[in-house]
Symmetry: C2
Subunit: 364 residues, 2 copies
């Protein structure tokens, strides 16, 4: 079912509401930080820059979860939930970029890089990179606290509110544990059995990304609207495979994506040493010599363009890329089938379908 | 007024309650993390180790703030608030140790160091130190989220609950902004006017430590018990100068403390480049040659024992140490005077007096 103009307008109104509340919230923090010291306002600017862009995928999943469960279109509660999710995502990105050593985010400097540039520009003492990391750790902590503050402001002491709180708490634990599994696999992967590499990578994306990008936001919205457990289970059945397809697409873009649209350098994931499902499939399918080359070169900070090109060729020629596309198709099919059985109003179903299609077909 | 045995027992009961709820909470997270992957349990062990020790200063301030405002002795709410504060403190320490490059905490390896040792022991690939930092960033994030989860579980949707929430939110923002000012001063201090160094250092300790170690916990406890604004203002008048004295004492211990009691290497703060009030006083009071030596050597990672000894001698001979002790006395006097005017039950006043005395006289 195609989206009608009405629905687009409603979604746009929600997104505008999220942007407005984000701005109001951050402005209120401007006063708090100014009282401490104007020197600290740069922390806020870093957060503001990050939350200004982005696809708002999580906020939108949350919104349609709410609407699908009977929540009203013009409600401040769901806007606050969207803001909390966007702030959480920003916090995760700030720390993720330190962890991955990513100097670029959405085409501009990442937060730790902004701070090290500030250090260099001002000719400050001691080490610029160290200062950048330290300042970005604190900015991420601040942003994580902001996220929580906004969620708590919803303040529904009802059973539905408690269910939503549980979703939010579980989401945070799973993301952080999943990210740990991700860095653990980077360092311990080469010593672990290659036969289980794909399974391990699938576990990682489930926790660090899939549940958190789609399932938890959708269920959070539903829970806030008081959805029953049956509907929430249906939401999970739709959104979890969608999130897995979403992250697999992300992995492909991290290796083959166009820097002009992804806003990240070409082959960045290879330099970071991400041991994705795509890498697992490659190690299993490639010849021994090729597999060893990939295994050894992953995560080398000084990986050159020619080596990135060779790894890409191995991924394609081993058939791993095609296998990954097949997996994305399979996850998508499972997700869309579950969507068809969801008992939600037509406009919510149509909007979720549009979001899902964009998530698995995206180029950035 | 001396503490009676009754009061000691009540305080011990509270501390035992906090330890018990911490254990129960972390056990509940053990199940969540095991479901994700047993590999992630090491995150929890790191948190557990940190929250097992410590002086529980913040939890105790919170408790007596609660009791002073008429809260009941055997209440689960105040135990939860204490647990939330202890978890927040653990999260702050984990990230602080990364930022300061502190490999030792309470005589054992700090969290990032634990993870880099895990990497080395297992002979994993890539860089052990980088893995350690990344894993500790995530552990701190997890711990920060745990802290919030416990606070939210108190769930009082009353005016008193809202006031407590505001205190908690402000505390987090101030700590993170204050820590930023701290690292900013490390790198920008040498280029800023020496005449304002003491003032800048005082601003830093107010936000990164004083308010958060004593004032906010005490006010949080009072707010949870429904204290009126007059009592909360009295709490602040007592606890803020106390916190400032507490942190000044901390700064002195960071330079002159006995490693056997502080659990940190001798002169660690000098190697980290902390520009404390003590350092500001020294730069102002020492001769030009001595001041330049201190200014240039602060923050050098390879600062040797002889250099640390020379800096200590300059601090003593310039009279800065004596000035710092005088400041501690002045803050303490202000704090105890405010305590005398507090309208709280005798046992709360006596317990706050004992806590305050320990905080400014401590050796570790």
């Amino acid at each position: 079912m195609p989206q009608t103009d009405n629905v687009l307008t409603e979604q746009e109104l929600f997104i505008a509401g999220v942007a407005r509340e984000l701005a109001v919230f951050l402005d209120s923090k401007r006063d708090v930080l100014t009282a401490i010291s104007p020197d600290t306002l740069v922390l806020l600017d870093s957060v503001r820059t990050l939350v200004t862009g982005g696809k708002r995928l999580r906020a939108l999943m949350c919104y349609w979860g709410w609407r699908g469960a009977g929540g009203k279109a013009d409600s401040s509660e769901i806007v606050s939930a969207g803001v909390a999710l966007e702030l959480f995502q920003a916090a995760a990105l700030i720390h993720d970029d330190i962890i991955d050593g990513s100097d670029i985010r959405r085409g501009g400097p990442s937060v730790h890089r902004r701070f090290s540039l500030l250090h260099t520009t001002n000719r400050w003492s001691l080490d610029a990179e160290r200062f950048g990391h330290a300042a970005a750790i604190l900015t991420g902590d601040l942003c994580l606290s902001f996220s929580e503050e906004v969620l708590a402001s919803i303040g529904r002491p009802t059973a539905a509110g408690t269910r939503a709180r549980k979703v939010f708490d579980l989401m945070r634990t799973e993301v952080m544990a999943g990210q740990y599994l991700d860095i653990l696999e980077e360092v311990s992967g080469p010593a672990r059995p290659v036969e289980t590499a794909v399974q391990r990578a699938q576990d990682i994306i489930r926790y660090k990304s899939a549940k958190y990008s789609t399932e938890h936001p959708l269920v959070l919205g539903g829970a806030l609207a008081g959805a029953d457990e049956e509907l929430l289970a249906g939401y999970s059945a739709f959104a979890l495979p969608l999130g897995e397809a979403f992250q697999l697409r992300d992995d492909l873009l991290g290796v083959f994506g166009d820097p002009a649209t992804t806003g990240k350098p070409a082959g960045d994931d290879l330099r970071e040493g991400k041991r994705t499902v795509l890498v697992g499939l490659t190690l299993a399918a490639a010849g021994e010599r090729e597999a060893r080359f990939v295994d050894e070169r992953l995560g080398c900070q000084e990986l050159g363009d020619a080596e990135i090109e060779r790894i890409r060729a191995i991924i394609v020629e081993s058939g791993a890329l095609a296998e990954a596309e097949t997996l994305i198709e399979a996850y998508s099919a499972k997700s869309f089938a579950a969507l068809d059985s969801l008992d939600v109003p037509d406009e919510a179903a149509a909007s979720l379908r549009a979001l899902a299609t964009a998530a698995v077909r995206r180029k950035s």
